[in-house]
């Protein structure tokens, strides 16, 4: 159980600045997820916390103790790697007990912990196998088992599910959620998968270019993104962003206009609207007009891609199979007032009352 505090963390490889000033506190027992596009520095940040990379600047505290200059062994963390990184020449049992043997725990204690983890992860039948003789899901379990037996102060996961097929990924996601509930341990988890981030996290940290864009609960990020980057990164399909201009009590978008949703004095450059915030109406009755380009029917939902002159292609989400919508049809679109996000010229969110 641990509180992890990062203050002013920077990391450069040569002259390339990868992490550019990260301040973050991860609470005891919290499940924190780092998301961000590929190359945004998620893995690097995790490896800095693990002690596998040296910081260029800043301090890392675990439970108030400065561990910045300590090696990975002294930080008492466990890490699960993307490739699992099992020791190929060792059996499952040896893989799980290696760290405990290094720590010179008594044999009986090692066996007790390894057997308990094996039972919890349903690995008992495979304890004498080598990793090469296991399926992907089993290897993943062994990697998690190896992390658990050390009874670490916190768990670090680097895209642990990205090598599994879709069905298995869902199962393992649920297992990791249960693991967190059972152990109530601090967990830091890197992913680029929206669904993993939204479903597992107590707190999501959105990274871009080595800088934290926003920290918050999943729904907070979804409902109140602080800037255009977060607005478009969180949510799938992503938020529609339209160039906009204030005209009195109206916001002009392309050749159409919507009423200003709330009073603000700040200049508006863009509005954002999620696919479910757009309502299809008859041509001529909407705030804006467009033509249906592509329709994807998933059964429960339908996604329509509508070309709007001057604004580009908008994504619309309709519950049900949207029988009334046909290709090349001209339609009107209404923007639900409560779902309009306003952004200023720097792409920052304009909140009500600003």
């Amino acid at each position: 159980m641990a509180v992890i505090t990062l203050s002013g963390i920077t990391k450069s490889f040569g002259t390339v600045h990868i992490i550019r000033g990260v301040d973050l506190t991860i609470g005891d027992g919290e499940f924190v997820i780092f998301v961000g596009p590929s190359g945004s520095g998620k893995s690097t940040l995790l490896r800095l916390i693990a002690g596998l990379e040296e910081t260029t600047g800043g301090r890392i505290l675990i439970d108030g103790t400065d561990v910045t200059d300590r090696g990975p062994a002294e930080r008492a963390l466990s890490m699960v790697f993307q490739s699992y990184a099992l020791y190929p020449t060792k059996t499952v049992r040896q893989n799980m007990s290696f760290g405990l043997e290094v720590a010179r725990l008594p044999r009986a204690e090692i066996d007790r912990r390894v057997n308990a983890a094996a039972a919890a992860l349903k690995l008992e039948a495979y304890m004498d196998r080598k990793p090469a003789a296991l399926s992907g899901g089993q290897r993943q379990r062994v990697a998690i088992g190896r992390a658990i037996v050390r009874e670490p102060v916190a768990f670090l996961f680097d895209e642990p599910l990205s090598n599994l097929d879709a069905a298995l990924r869902v199962d393992m996601r649920v297992e990791i959620a249960k693991l967190h509930q059972r152990l109530k341990a601090t967990m830091i988890y890197v992913t680029h998968d929206q669904v993993e981030a939204m479903t597992l996290a107590d707190k999501i940290v959105v990274l871009d270019g080595g800088v934290i864009q926003q920290v918050g609960a999943p729904l907070e990020l979804y409902e109140r993104p602080v800037n255009l980057f977060v607005a478009q990164f969180i949510g799938s399909p992503k938020m529609n962003v339209l160039a906009a201009r204030r005209e009195g009590e109206l916001i002009r978008v392309g050749s159409g206009a919507v009423p200003l949703p709330f009073a603000t004095s700040r200049p508006i450059a863009h509005i954002g609207i999620r696919p479910e915030g757009l309502e299809v109406v008859s041509s001529g009755e909407g705030h804006i007009e467009g033509k249906v380009d592509v329709v994807e029917r998933l059964g429960s939902d339908t996604f329509a891609y509508v070309i709007v002159p001057e604004l580009g292609t908008l994504t619309i989400r309709i519950v049900g199979n949207a029988a009334g919508i046909a290709l090349d049809q001209s339609i009107g679109l209404r923007l639900a007032a409560g779902q309009i996000h306003l952004f200023d010229t720097e792409g920052r969110r304009i909140a009500e009352g600003d």
Binding site: A85, Y87, V102
Partner: protein
Amino acid sequence: MGIVGNTTRSPNFRRNRILLTAVLCIYLVYTLVPLFYVVTASTKTNADLFGTFGLWFAGEFNLWQNLVDLFTHQNGVFSRWLGNTFFYSLTSAVGAAIFALLAGYAFAKYEFRGKKLLFALVLGAVMIPQTALVIPLYLMLSKIGLLNTPLAVILPSLVFPPGVFLMRVYVDEAVSNEIIDAGRVDGAGELHILSSLTFRLLMPGFATVFILAFVAAWNNYFLPLVVLSTSENFPVTVGLSIWYASATLGSGGNLLFTVVMTGALVSILPVILAFLIMQRFWQGGLSAGAVKA
């Protein structure tokens, strides 16, 4: 042979295959003829050695007598030379393989200042023939008083640049960074990670470097010739060449030619044996045990 558009039945494939086979056959003959000559020569008497066709056996089979002569000539000094060669080669090869492993591992897995320059030096050293270094080595060894000691042969042989290069490439291939990182998170030190997590993945590479260094040391002639001066320290290569020289001078009589030939045969047998034993490491190959997601 999975070359697209070149099935095993296409005329193109056949032409290529015939050509390739022919070239390989020529190479095989070129390699085997001298070897075969040594085999036949060591079964002959001195008279037959010069009186019969070189590439076939003579009527009289004299191998046993030649062996007896070989091991009794000059009070059986040949056994001593064989022992020396064995000792020099084994210590050199073990040492060279360990150094190559450590250096290659460091080049492959650690970042340090001057890494590019150092590796360029290693590559440069691969290009320099050891023979070119023998005279400077002689001068250095004489300064520190190691001339005519086993160390004079062993120390220089511990430096085996091709082995360093080979191990670097091999470590890159066979050991993922994440396995090393996992070991670090598990609390193991760097040497512990090498010895108990990654070394077994590197065995084929290690064995290859070992055998290359072993053969290089076994066949080494010029270095021991220069740095050793008494017969009891000679390896087989130097000893036989001295017998051969005295045979051509006629001082010891013609008898020595068959003895030299038999000595040559005896001295290559352990190398062949070593290759056969080491083969199992190569058959296991790169992929044995490695887990790639």
